[in-house]
């Protein structure tokens, strides 16, 4: 219900920020400058001569035609096309990264909680610490140099996508190729959330395992596996679930660093450059897409909460 309102507020704030930040989007620090008349004509053409004219035209385009306008930095390119090309790539990478994060995080967290103080626990804590502390540009560069440069297990780039094949290949072969490209960046992008998830699970599970209802379950004669998977983990997973919504939105909308290191044509790099270039159309378009995703994921998590924890009712 609140979705349109939240979107409107985000849009309003972004719109104001994009206008008041100093600098002329059509100005470059070097090279030939087009004649003054050309610059004025361009401002008129893009309606950048007045915020009201811009806002009117922009809203009309977005609401009536679903058109986010042109990109200011790349002539002849539409924001819609840029998003349509970049979002699937970023989203696929984000799904891969989250999958990796969940797998590793759950494993490390469970091991740590069940055998506190053991060597496994120490290792899982160590992994978590490294994952949280190492910045992605280090993890990414190291993984690329080792995995692609030295071991040659993975391709260096550029990114593949089904239907993009250089040689004649089937769609499935394309997907395989894409997966090979995705492993290193997904691991890089998933390392930090994996560490976070591991810590959440370890803490939650340690607490839950000591609670009365688990003792009851054990006393009833349930096997340790049943206790863990059907009862304990379900509750310990709740904090992870609420972490997943923002994490999913963040991972799926692209990471500047990871895209930069691996040469992935996603949206993260686009967004940073759009802000640098004051590309108003692209900034607004991407912010709208991001916030929509964030809201939708939060909604999904709210619903999932009720499913995992029957105590919560969705109105």
């Amino acid at each position: 219900m609140q979705m349109p309102l939240i979107l409107a507020v985000i849009f309003g704030v972004t719109f104001i920020l994009a206008w008041v930040v100093p600098g002329n989007p059509l100005e470059r620090p070097e090279g030939q400058r087009p004649p003054v008349e050309v610059q004025q004509a361009m401002l008129r053409q893009y309606r950048l001569d007045s915020p009201w004219r811009f806002l009117g035209g922009y809203l009309e385009g977005v609401v009536w035609r679903g058109d986010f306008g042109p990109s200011l930095q790349d002539a002849n390119q539409r924001v819609n096309d840029i998003i349509a090309r970049g979002l699937p790539v970023s989203a696929a990478l984000g799904v891969g990264a989250l999958g990796f994060a969940l797998l590793l995080g759950l494993l490390a967290g469970v091991v740590g909680a069940l055998r506190p103080g053991s060597i496994w626990d120490g290792m899982s804590l160590g992994v978590a610490l490294v994952g949280v502390s190492l910045p992605t540009f280090v993890t990414g560069a190291v993984l690329l140099a080792v995995g692609a440069g030295i071991l040659k297990w993975f391709p260096i780039g550029p990114w593949e996508w089904p239907g993009w094949a250089v040689w004649e290949r089937s769609w499935w072969q394309d997907c395989g190729q894409m997966m090979r490209h995705m492993v290193l960046p997904a691991v890089t992008l998933g390392a930090a959330p994996a560490a976070y998830i591991a810590r959440l699970i370890r803490l939650g599970l340690a607490e839950v395992m000591g609670s009365d209802y688990i003792r009851t379950a054990v006393a009833k004669g349930l096997s340790p596996r049943q206790v863990l998977w059907r009862h304990a983990l379900k509750v310990a997973f709740l904090p992870v679930l609420s972490f997943l919504a923002p994490a999913a939105a963040a991972a799926m909308t692209g990471s500047f660093v990871v895209e930069q290191v691996f040469g992935i044509p996603g949206l993260g790099e686009r967004f940073v450059r759009a802000v640098q270039n004051k590309d108003q159309f692209l900034i607004l378009g991407l912010v709208l897409v991001y916030s929509t995703m964030l809201i939708v994921f939060n909604l999904i998590v709210d619903v999932a909460y009720a499913w995992v924890d029957p105590r919560i009712e969705v109105d």
Binding site: P34, R65, N76, G163, V289
Partner: protein
């Protein structure tokens, strides 16, 4: 695409697999593969000004004449011959009979008129519109059309969108008629183009070889143009530069273009010199600011050529230091310098001490250029330090008056400051060096500020800012000292010197010297080549004596390719490429 993006993620994800374009070439044939350091801004030859855009345009479009691969001479292209009138002001080009567009239509003189007119229409915001102003009537026409559009913008509010578009179309028709009446470009017949210039222009043929002078398939495009009801401006048909729709007359046709990833060109079978082409197409990958990754791919043999390695970054200094046989360091036609604001007062009304040429010269004499190339760019003797604006040794018959420039002479600098009334730097506090952050300019600025403090007693502030803010400030001359760079476009001193003419839109230092302007004017009318260059040399000497800029170093470019495998690439100062003549062996 007209999708409404509400909760789009998954929907688009589901659709993405349907993108079934056929991208690259068949296996086993020789293609030239290289990495560009940026995505393309545009493939519209009249709108482009970036080197990597121009490199592709030169493959897709065939101008009237072309530069040879070594960048030294002009040779016939679509024009098989041309005549120049005795007064040097009228050029008549005769087009070859076998010149065709990739869609099979013949290339006509009208295609050049159409394309050149676009560059002279404010509608298309051509970065290089100014280059066309050597053509008689071009500058006036440009202003005329700008005025017409300005009036339209004033009146359009009263019209409905359809009426406004109709009106815009009518105005465009008037502009075309005005162009035919007043501008010196005329298709005498289908195969003859006559161009009248305002003045004899010795470098005109070289301009004609430049991408913005490329033709467009008028028959394909003109009727499909649209008109903006907001601004009245003519617009090209949507997506006209896409694979499958772009009609080209050069050695290649556009086979695939994924703007975030790569661009592929296949030989254009309609090209008149198709049989002489040495490769089977070109694949260009975009690695935005990602030279590490590009280098890995080059070393793995996945690409043949890295033409755009950024010499400002440490990775290049390291590569250069290794003296690799596949490394090619070339002097570029460009200079890195500091602008000194020459206006008598700053924008906030304070008096500007830099308006005194002695102060400017003193500061310039206080720049330790050798240390900058040794310690900052780390290219040492391979990076020429600059005493002139025009780099030496790159224009036949023209050597810049370096003796008028400034070297590192702190003693002389202190003297000049004292003469100007700022002994020991007193009274110069509060000056700032402005630069855009993130491109290595801060290190140079720190080095210079430290030297000024130590040698001259001048304490300057460092003001790093985001590049669009910086660009805007420099244009408004809202700075004291600002870093700058300039690259020449054609082999003539005016490509550099015009920048300092009064009223030039790129005169960021706000330099004004009537003597300088008079010499530029005098050179315009001078028919004798040697004399003309001498006059221009005099102009540069005056400018250097005034030091509106402190030149620091001349640029170099660095390319990686193995000459045993990639044959026919001849890296040159002016960055002219003839990629269709490059053979690749693997």
């Amino acid at each position: 695409m007209r999708t409404i993006y509400i909760g789009v993620g998954l929907l688009v994800l589901a659709l993405a697999g349907c993108d079934g374009r056929d991208p690259s070439a068949e296996q086993g044939k020789r293609q030239l593969r290289f990495v560009s350091s940026a995505r393309h801004h545009t493939l519209d030859p009249q709108k482009m000004s970036w080197l990597h855009d121009i490199r592709v345009a030169e493959c897709l479009f065939d101008p009237l004449v072309r530069m040879t691969a070594d960048g030294q001479k002009v040779e016939p292209a679509t024009a098989e011959r041309w005549e120049i009138s005795a007064d040097g002001k009228t050029y008549t080009f005769y087009l070859r009979g076998d010149a065709y567009w990739s869609n099979g239509q013949a290339v006509t003189a009208g295609d050049y008129v159409f394309a050149w007119r676009r560059a002279m229409l404010a509608d298309f915001a051509s970065d290089y519109a100014r280059l066309f102003f050597v053509i008689a009537g071009a500058e006036d026409f440009f202003g005329w059309r700008s005025g017409q559009l300005g009036e339209f913008a004033g009146a359009a509010g009263k019209l409905g969108p359809e009426q406004a578009a109709e009106k815009a179309k009518e105005l465009y028709g008037q502009a075309v008629a005005q162009f035919a009446r007043t501008v010196g470009v005329r298709a005498v017949n289908d195969k003859t183009l006559e161009v009248k210039l305002t003045k004899p222009t010795p470098y005109f043929l070289e301009l004609v070889a430049f991408a913005p002078f490329a033709p467009l398939a008028a028959a394909d495009l003109e009727d499909r143009m649209t008109f903006s009801p907001d601004s009245g401006m003519a617009q090209m048909p949507a997506n006209w530069t896409e694979p499958g729709t772009l009609v080209s007359n050069g050695p290649y046709r556009l086979k695939g273009w994924r703007p975030d990833r790569d661009l592929e060109m296949a030989p254009n079978d309609r090209y008149y010199a198709r049989t002489e082409m040495a490769n089977d197409g070109i694949v260009e990958y975009f690695m935005v600011d990602n030279e590490q990754n590009a280098l890995l791919r080059y070393q793995e043999g996945e690409v043949d050529w890295l033409p755009d390695l950024p010499t400002a970054k440490p990775i290049v200094a390291d590569l250069v230091a290794r003296n690799r046989p596949d490394g090619h360091l070339i002097t570029a036609a460009g200079t890195y310098f500091y602008n000194f604001n020459c206006r008598p007062t700053f924008n906030d009304g304070r008096k500007n001490p830099l308006s005194d040429r002695r102060v400017r010269r003193a500061l310039s004499l206080g720049i330790d250029r050798q240390t900058i190339v040794d310690k900052v760019t780390r290219l040492g003797s391979r990076q020429p330090i600059a005493r002139s604006f025009i780099p030496p040794g790159m224009l036949a018959g023209y050597e810049p008056p370096v003796e008028e420039g400034a070297g590192f002479e702190p003693e002389r600098a202190r003297q000049l400051l004292a003469e100007a009334g700022y002994a020991g730097g007193a009274g110069l506090d509060g000056l700032a060096i402005s630069y855009n952050t993130g491109a290595g300019h801060e290190v140079v600025a720190q080095q210079i500020a430290a030297t000024w403090k130590k040698e001259l007693g001048v304490a300057v502030k460092l003001e790093g800012m985001e590049s669009k803010v910086f660009g805007d400030k420099v244009k408004k001359q809202d700075y004291a000292i600002a870093r700058g760079s300039w690259f020449g476009d054609y082999r003539d001193p005016t490509t550099f010197l015009d920048k300092f003419a009064q009223g030039n839109g790129n005169n960021d230092a706000a330099y004004r010297n009537p003597e300088y302007d008079a010499l530029l004017k005098q050179a315009e009318g001078e028919m004798d080549v040697a004399k003309r260059l001498e006059v221009l040399r005099g102009a540069e000497a005056i400018m250097l004596a005034d030091q509106p800029i402190g030149p620091i170093y001349h640029y170099v470019r660095f390319e990686l390719f193995d000459p045993a495998k990639v044959k026919g690439l001849t890296p040159n100062t002016w960055n002219h490429n003839r990629l269709e003549k490059v053979a690749v062996e693997r």
